[in-house]
Symmetry: C2
Subunit: 417 residues, 2 copies
């Protein structure tokens, strides 16, 4: 078997939302099979299944044990894998579905946020060689103690990328309900344009800045192992967006996209005593809970109210995923108290607006243009962070769309270059 | 750990039909835990989950591959196991859920109808010893190749009985939505009475004759390994019906119950050439499909219509579970043709009415009384079969309730003895 002949396809929840859509996916999979490819198909849970299961769990407990959440949530993908296998059989082709455990996906065992540490390929190769289409339940694996673990948000993408890597697949296709990667969210920006190609690095920044199409960690993994990605729609046969190493043609592009992430929350610890070790303590405790902190800023030291002039203190702000806010507040409050800080404030009404582009490397002045545009649009900037190819600003959520539209226009992203 | 201290509890689908009921089950489990017992709890899928999953499968294919059906159906019990573990945690007790695979339930690998061939207990003992309540997804196991297999109808009962046996549990409690085993179906017979105890043998006959409360094969297994059973309601704390070896006090009882099974279908092969081997061929082919034939009758040989006088032929009738009718018809038609039989007729409008009682062993005349009662009620008998402690008659389905009521009255089952 030539491994370039292997295509890994991943279908997200909206692509397998109901029986009709599962049948459509089956037809597409079979089409590729008849073209001579060996197919390994990763599926997410049916449409709303994940939400329905979470509703059951949170109907029972506000803090369900994460081990049991994994037991619960992993069933969603198992259901769609079995149904897709049935739909392919119905078309007269052989297919076999596997759970993460059966496929040999071994994880580090961190419940609800596991990382893949090993992948078996014997079983998959055996089934491919016998002519079968292999369907794998995404988002899950087991640890060495046979405990079921899920891979966190976008976990099915990770499953697909990891499989494409170990099988040395010719292509890893990520099927979704949009036609590819856009310069911005078409629901917000009317002239947002589909990109034909984009580099791993830019896609990674776009994803971590809020582009929903694929999770940042999956792109990071694809980049690391040079897995060619093709993000496309399961509702059409049009080409989507290819994600590859930086291409020559991309170099002329200053900015590739403007994104917004409305799913972050800001936490501010007031009057943190300005001495070494306090911040470290806080972020160590948060990391221990497996919470990803995104932006961190610290105001210049000032005299704390009501304290002696010599006792300097500072305000420390950071952002975390909205879903982790409760857990983060709990940890932060405990440590703030211990460190004799002033108080902990949460802000759930923020959004992060980012511009991303490899062109920033060689062109200065992007940040200045961005701040200028936001000022003209009367959008106040609460926090700023930058990377080599990205600038992000936290603004009030109600200003987010206005900011995105203004930036998309400023950098002329609607025009084909 | 004293093993008599272990209680295995099995909760059926109606007992865990929704969040409120799962919470109620959790409270009951915890109550037993606080009384000092070690709890191993087997759960079925939530209420209608099984039907919902089947609807998805049959929405995709009329003949879904059984391997994939097992992948699909096994998720139902995994969901309830995880949710019950969460509900117990919420009450402040430690619980851990296992799939059949994780619990070490090894089966023979026959999809949708597997039999347990081995059970691991190390993991369960370890968790019990650490003080945890162990929750196990019923109805499922894996074969030696890690293929998920389900145990067929009533499979969660089998899981519970097998666990009670290997753990040498003091009691195996089967929770259901009725208060125990009744002399007949209370929905049909108004003065049907709950039995305080019943022998394995009688319960086995009642179950195979149509009593819904527990599957015959689970009772057979309990009897074989002398696992004490207590069938009771999850909606009250009243004692239910104990199922044990034949007790002294039971000997005076002539008949314990009257049952009806409306879920069988009758198949008749007309004009089967009356020579050795034909019947064997038919039932061998049906057995190969894992279909359980219940009653078989063969009419006396007669001259086949339109054939030479010397060519004798016979009509052969048998019953199978209604759900297997389609599959059975297919097999039967093929063999009937091959054997040059006349034709195959199916009848889906039958019911099997049975009287069961260990007292029959020492008292003759029960059959005569039964036929007499049915004749007086103007119920025609289509087929008859008997065992040492049971007499079953196939009647038209529309006459079934009338027959049951008349028999329940004749044998005075409404009166406490």
């Amino acid at each position: 078997m030539r491994s370039e002949n292997i295509i890994v396809q991943k279908y997200g929840g909206s692509s397998v939302a109901n029986i009709e859509r599962i049948k459509r996916v089956a037809r597409r999979v079979v089409l590729y099979k008849t073209k001579g490819h060996d197919l390994v198909v990763v599926v997410s849970a049916l449409g709303d299944t994940t939400d329905e299961l979470l509703e059951l769990a949170y109907g029972i407990s506000k803090m369900p044990p994460e081990r049991e959440l994994d037991m619960l949530m992993s069933t969603g993908e198992q259901v769609s894998a079995a149904l897709l296998a049935m739909a392919i059989h119905k078309l007269g082709y052989e297919a076999i579905s596997f759970t993460g455990a059966q496929a040999g996906i071994i994880t580090d065992g961190v419940h609800t946020k596991a990382r893949i540490i090993d992948m078996g390929t014997d079983r998959i190769h055996k089934e491919l060689e016998s002519g079968k289409i292999v369907i794998i339940a995404g988002f899950q694996g087991i640890n060495v103690d046979q405990e079921i673990t899920t891979l966190g948000r976008g976990g099915s993408d990770i499953t697909a990328v990891a499989l494409a890597k170990v099988l040395n697949a010719g292509m890893c296709e990520i099927y979704t309900d949009v036609e590819g990667v856009y310069t911005s969210d078409p629901r917000v920006v009317k002239d947002a344009r589909k990109l034909d190609q984009i580099s791993y690095e830019e896609m990674h920044e776009l994803a971590s800045a809020g582009a929903q199409v694929m999770q940042a960690r999956s792109i990071e993994a694809a980049s690391k192992y040079n897995v060619p990605l093709h993000i496309r729609s399961s509702f059409s046969y049009k080409e989507g967006t290819y994600i590859t190493k930086e291409a020559k043609s991309m170099e002329n592009v200053l900015i590739s996209g403007v994104t917004v992430n409305k799913n972050e929350a800001k936490i501010t610890i007031c009057d943190v005593p300005d001495k070494p070790g306090v911040a470290a303590k806080i972020f160590k405790a948060i990391a221990k809970e497996n919470i990803n902190v995104d932006m961190i800023i610290q105001n210049v030291s000032r005299t704390a109210k009501g304290k002696a002039k010599k006792a300097l203190s500072t305000d420390l702000s950071f952002t975390v995923p909205g879903g982790d806010l409760l857990k983060t507040m709990k940890v932060t409050r405990a440590i703030a108290k211990e460190a004799r800080a002033g108080g902990v404030i949460q802000n759930n009404n923020i959004a992060k607006v980012s511009v991303v582009g490899v062109g920033m490397r060689s062109h200065s002045g992007v940040a200045a243009r961005m701040f200028d545009v936001l000022a003209k649009a009367r959008v106040n900037i609460e926090m700023i962070s930058t990377s080599e190819i990205k600038i992000s600003c936290v603004v009030l959520r109600k200003h987010a769309d206005k900011a995105v539209i203004a930036l998309h226009k400023e950098f002329e992203l609607g025009k084909k270059k």
